[in-house]
């Protein structure tokens, strides 16, 4: 989430070209299952927006930043404010693409290979395969994602989550992992790549076992609703976002949050995923 917040705020500087008369361009972060941004997050957004406004010479008031952890609330907000750029995941893109008219712009270039995977973990001594987990509880923040995205795109139709498990979405995955380690009411946890990579470096991992690893899917970090105003701003925004990790102010922030930058993504690369998702296969 924090990555997205920072990326969002840094990117807002590029919107400086809008006029005061027009409604503000929306910069919306959709961090499904993430923690509440809170005052700290809002402050960070404000500081960076102000900073970018200064560096670009455009008034910061032209931009409005919003943060959502609930995709439905984000979709409702975007339906009302269509001149919007969105920092969000592939799940949100696929589920809202048609309804909102979303267009992919860039993927997050993180320290990994630019793909996302999901992992199901259980306690080493409790479960040795998915078969023994049938009917048990599965916890995790990715469970807030669109169910079709999880079943069709992430698990390729091989693992009907809702049928196999009792799903327990949570925005406290670390707490769930600790309960899993102590075998206190949590039978399995679903993690995304960032969470999983972090877990690997923690002693907590020693007692856990991976029971399922999804196939890699491309990451998506940046998209827009296709409107005349967003089309007009698209290139300028993309340039700003792509170069932000190379700026003096942006470099330490990007390093701190593990972002190497944003890389443009071709719509064609997402076409098979869109087709599969739409067909529900």
């Amino acid at each position: 989430m924090t990555k997205l917040t920072v990326a969002l705020v840094l990117s807002t500087g590029a919107f400086a070209a809008t006029t005061n008369a027009a409604p503000p361009i929306q910069v919306v972060i959709v961090y499904v299952g993430g923690p509440d941004a809170g005052a700290e997050g809002q402050k960070l957004i404000d500081q960076l927006v102000a900073h970018l406004a200064t560096t670009t010479g455009e008034p910061a008031g032209q931009w409005q930043g919003s943060y959502f952890t609930d995709p439905a609330a984000a979709a409702a907000h975007l339906a009302k404010h269509r001149d919007a750029f969105v920092l969000g995941g592939l799940g949100f893109f696929l589920s809202q693409r048609r309804a909102l008219g979303l267009v992919p712009l860039a993927r997050l270039a993180t320290n990994g290979d630019g793909t996302e995977r999901y992992y199901i973990l259980a306690h080493k001594e409790a479960h040795s395969s998915l078969a023994t987990l049938k009917g048990k509880t599965l916890w995790g923040s990715p469970l807030y994602e669109d169910p079709r995205f999880l079943e069709v795109t992430v698990f390729g139709g091989k693992l009907p989550l809702a049928r196999e498990f009792v799903l327990k979405p949570t925005n406290r995955p670390l707490s769930a992992l600790r309960k899993l380690e102590k075998q206190q009411g949590v039978d399995a946890v679903l993690l995304n790549s960032v969470q999983y990579e972090g877990l690997l470096r923690m002693p907590l991992y020693d007692k856990l076992k991976i029971l399922y690893t999804s196939e890699p899917i491309p990451t998506l970090g940046f998209m827009m609703i296709d409107t005349p105003r967003t089309r007009e701003l698209r290139d300028k925004i993309l340039a700003t976002v792509s170069g932000m990790c190379a700026t003096e102010q942006g470099t330490p922030v990007c390093r701190n949050f593990g972002i190497q930058g944003f890389a443009p993504i071709a719509a064609a690369k997402l076409a098979p995923l869109i087709t599969t998702y739409d067909q529900g296969q």
């Binding site: 993430g34 923690p35 809170g38 700290e40 406290r172 670390l174 707490s175 969470q195």
Partner: protein, 900 residues
């Protein structure tokens, strides 16, 4: 030519016996006289050629800066006791001016504390200024925080309404501070007698790289405070025992003087020595203890074995006297030629006695055999010298050639070993060939029944014939397997593994590395200016294998003018900071509620950090929560009245600390620029030479004895600057030279052996046959090493060139003996000299075996490898080589043998 030479020797020994005896007596006396001038050099540095660029650079560096490898005197005991006694020990050590240049054990923290703000990075100072200037509300808020409950509330508010964006590193520091604060509160609750001491230092030091230094009031200590280190710089960088022994003795005496002056310290403070000088001396003493005791045992065992074999003191004397004379003379010659023995060649002398005795044994045994066959004493001696002597001479010359071949190695250590051993072999061979016949002719020998008949019968037995085919096949398969298995044997570059684990220097080094932020040895980086060393220091700190860097760059801050300007601007806002203490009326329940809220805040932050992949922050936040949990427990467990009373004590100490911090901060605001000349002189002298060169000490993360690590470490340093030296650099070069030198030594030695054998036998197949036992033995030795779970190291690889020199003689003897009696099978040849071989093998094995029990792992494995190698050579020469010869030259046409 060889026969004519041997006949000449026989004639000479008959006609000039007395002259030979007198000549050798004089030569022995001369040798003994020269021996007094023989230096036993224990220097590892002396084993590297002085013209090697790395060595030359190091020597130039030492010339300018003095000795860089410190003796580390470790004081161990209760933290307070060792700190209070450190000054006494340092003074006593410093008083030894004949040996000690300086003693460094404490940093003057007051000097730096007064100027602390100048040591803060400019960017952080700017951030601090921003906070002070732009966040006036934060300063006002500080004034509102007047008791512990208010602190908890302010922290809670800080999460809800963050006023300042902190740098990620600062967040970690703040969390450490919070953790320390909670721990301190808990201490007050759990220990009714506890009173905080210098919380300021502890809070400031928490998480800082020099935390241990600050906590220890500037003393160099271990993390638990129970070890204190005094770095003693010797006046010389010599690693010779001649310097190190008296230097250590003087240091021990200084320590003893402190104990004598302050008897109560004895039993409370344990003193140990480590560091490079201590290691080197430990190694020297261990090796010499091993070699001395090994040599004594070897001589006794060899004489005993000879008594068992010869049964009369007369014959023992005939075999031993020429050897003793030969060894004394050869050491005299070595004195003239090289002037010294080094660590390797000195260790080798212990085994030489047991090996060279073989020459005499063969001659005495053959004389007895010939007399048993009816020959007169004179004729028997003649036959022994001209027939057996031929094999002995060829074997001995081959051995000497092999050693001289080693002498061509670039690695001084091996080259000197080769020359020393070559001289020793030649001189002993000469002594044996001239003295043994003379002594035999003077003192006589008893006839013995020749073993030939028995041997011939045994050799022709059908079972033996079948056996040799099986034997050759099995050995061939084993040799192939051994070569395959040998490829997996590792080379252990860690020289520390050679030392016994329980020595004082090793124990303290390992503990120092594990329990403190200091390392025993550092690489030195040179620069011409302060700015250059500053830039280099910054880059060195980013290297993954670097633990710590010390240089003047840390002591003379950069950008002082800019920093002073920032500090001046901070004076006004900071003057408004006010610490007002007003005891609160919070109850235990209030505190518990406040802590619970905070704990929840930290848990939320932890989840956010986990989602962002910030594991280090997750761990830090986890520790804070654990500490809060323990504190909540302590609050709940204590009776309410006591909990409040103790919490009030803690609260007072917190505010007293805060006031001290503010006072200190006001002093910082008055800071003046720091110059090099203001620094304490002993600190400055460590880092800048009188010629104006600057020095950075680069402490490695790993062990300097591990060359694999050193390769990475040195390579990383070289990416920053080529001007590096010090033990890590010279040791890396030394280690590689040993291995390269070993390969060279083996190649030269083998070449020399092949040339000599070719000259002697004049047939390729005979040369190959003579070398066969050695080749088989070296191959099978790999199997022994692999299955023995051993690895190669710097010391034991020397066993291979030595084995090459000695092992080749066995094959040469057998081939010569077989060619001497062409009508017999090679089995007969082997069996006829069997008793002599057994006797000589027993003496050889006694010589080598005596050092296999050495404490020094290098010496013991050197002995072990050599012992196994010689046994394998013997077995190959006596059983396998004859079988191969008979298979090749006898089986095809039993009636008409071919011979090389």
């Amino acid at each position: 030519m060889q026969n004519r030479l041997l006949e000449l020797i026989v004639g000479f020994t008959r006609s000039r016996g007395t002259a030979i005896l007198i000549g050798f007596a004089v030569a022995t006396l001369l040798g003994a006289g020269l021996l007094t001038r023989l230096e036993i050099s224990t220097s590892q540095k002396a084993l590297i050629p002085t013209d090697h660029p790395v060595q030359a650079e190091f020597l130039a560096f030492v010339e300018e800066f003095g000795a860089v490898d410190n003796l580390i005197v470790v004081l161990e005991g209760e933290p307070e006791t060792i700190r209070s006694s450190a000054d006494f020990f340092a003074a006593a050590l410093r008083a030894e001016t004949a040996w000690v240049k300086q003693v460094f054990y404490r940093v003057d923290l007051d000097f730096f504390a007064e100027r602390a703000l100048l040591f803060v990075p400019t960017a952080e100072l700017r951030r601090g200024e921003e906070v002070l200037v732009n966040q006036a509300s934060l300063i006002e808020r500080v004034a509102e925080v007047r008791n512990l409950a208010a602190i908890l509330a302010a922290m809670d508010r800080g999460f809800g309404e963050p006023a300042v964006e902190f740098h990620p590193d600062a967040v970690t520091g703040i969390l450490r501070g919070v953790e320390e604060m909670m721990r301190e509160w808990r201490r007050w609750l759990e220990d009714p007698t506890y009173h905080a001491e210098d919380l300021v230092s502890r809070l400031f030091a928490t998480g800082h790289p020099n935390a241990a230094l600050v906590k220890a009031d500037g003393y160099l200590i271990s993390r638990d405070g129970r070890m204190l280190f005094l770095l003693v710089q010797p006046i010389s960088s010599s690693d010779e025992a001649a310097f190190l022994r008296p230097f250590h003795a003087a240091m021990r005496a200084a320590v003893e003087r402190v104990f004598a002056d302050y008897p109560s310290l004895r039993g409370q403070v344990h003193v140990g020595f480590t560091g490079l000088p201590a290691h080197v001396l430990t190694e020297i003493e261990t090796v010499f203890d091993d070699v001395t005791s090994g040599a004594s045992v070897a001589v006794i065992l060899v004489v005993l074995i000879l008594f068992v074999g010869f049964r009369t003191p007369r014959k023992v004397a005939i075999a031993v006297i020429p050897l003793v004379a030969g060894m004394v003379i050869s050491l005299g010659v070595v004195t003239l030629v090289l002037g010294r023995l080094n660590l390797i060649s000195a260790a080798f002398m212990a085994v030489m006695f047991g090996m060279s005795i073989d020459f005499g044994i063969y001659l005495v045994r053959r004389t007895e055999e010939e007399m048993g066959g009816g020959a007169s004493l004179a004729e028997a001696v003649r036959v022994a010298v001209t027939r057996t002597g031929r094999g002995v001479l060829t074997g001995g010359l081959t051995t000497a050639c092999a050693f001289f071949g080693i002498g061509l190695s670039d690695f001084t250590g091996f080259a000197e070993l080769g020359i020393t051993a070559g001289i020793g072999t030649l001189v002993c061979l000469t002594a044996v060939f001239l003295l043994v016949p003379v002594l035999l002719l003077r003192f006589g020998a008893e006839p013995k029944l020749p073993a030939l008949t028995v041997a011939r019968d045994l050799a022709r037995a059908p079972s033996v014939v079948q056996l040799r085919v099986a034997l050759v096949l099995v050995v061939a398969l084993l040799a192939i397997w051994a070569v395959h298995r040998g490829r997996g044997i590792a080379f252990d570059y860690n020289a520390l593994h050679l030392l016994p684990r329980d020595t004082e220097s090793t124990t303290y080094q390992l503990r120092m590395e594990a329990e403190s932020d200091y390392a025993v040895s550092a690489a030195m980086v040179l620069a011409d200016s302060l700015e250059e060393i500053r830039s280099i220091t910054t880059r060195l700190r980013t290297l993954p294998e670097v633990l710590r860097v010390e240089s003047l760059a840390d002591l003379v801050p950069a950008d002082q003018a800019e920093k002073l300007a920032i500090i001046r601007r901070c004076r006004a806002p900071l003057s408004k900071v006010e610490i007002a203490y007003q005891p609160g009326d919070a109850t235990v329940t209030d505190y518990q509620a406040g802590l619970a809220r905070l704990s929840q805040r930290f848990a939320d932050a932890e989840e956010a950090a986990f989602n962002a992949g910030r594991v280090e922050l997750v761990e830090r936040l986890g520790k804070v929560q654990d500490e809060i949990g323990s504190l909540e427990l302590a609050l709940g467990n204590a009776p309410a009245a006591l909990a409040l009373q103790r919490t009030a004590g803690f609260e007072r100490s917190i505010f007293t600390t805060a006031r001290s911090v503010v006072e200190l901060a006001h002093r910082w605001l008055e800071a003046r620029p720091v110059t090099e000349e203001q620094l304490p002189s002993e600190l400055r002298a460590r880092m800048r030479s009188s010629q104006g060169h600057y020095l950075a000490y680069v402490f490695p993360k790993g062990s300097v004895w591990d060359v694999d690590f050193l390769d990475r470490f040195v390579a990383q340093l070289k990416e920053v600057t080529p001007r590096i030296t010090g033990f890590p650099v010279t040791h890396q070069v030394y280690s590689r030279l040993v291995v390269d030198g070993f390969i060279q030594a083996m190649l030269y030695s083998l070449l020399a052996v092949i040339l000599l054998l070719a000259f002697d036998f004049r047939r390729a197949d005979a040369v190959i046959l003579a070398l066969l036992p050695l080749v088989i033995a070296v191959a099978l030795l790999q199997l022994v090493i692999a299955y023995g779970g051993k690895s190669y190291n710097f010391a034991n690889i020397a066993a291979f060139p030595v084995l090459l020199g000695y092992g080749v003689a066995y094959g040469v003897n057998i081939v010569n003996r077989w060619r001497e009696r062409p009508t017999e099978t090679a089995w007969v040849s082997a069996l006829t000299i069997g008793k002599g071989v057994v006797l000589s093998a027993a003496t050889t094995l006694a010589g080598i075996g005596s050092i296999t029990v050495a404490r020094h792992n290098g010496v013991s494995t050197f002995g072990g490898f050599l012992l196994a190698g010689v046994i394998l050579c013997l077995i190959s020469a006596v059983f396998i080589l004859p079988a191969v010869i008979d298979l090749l030259y006898l089986s095809a046409d039993d009636a008409q043998e071919k011979k090389p």
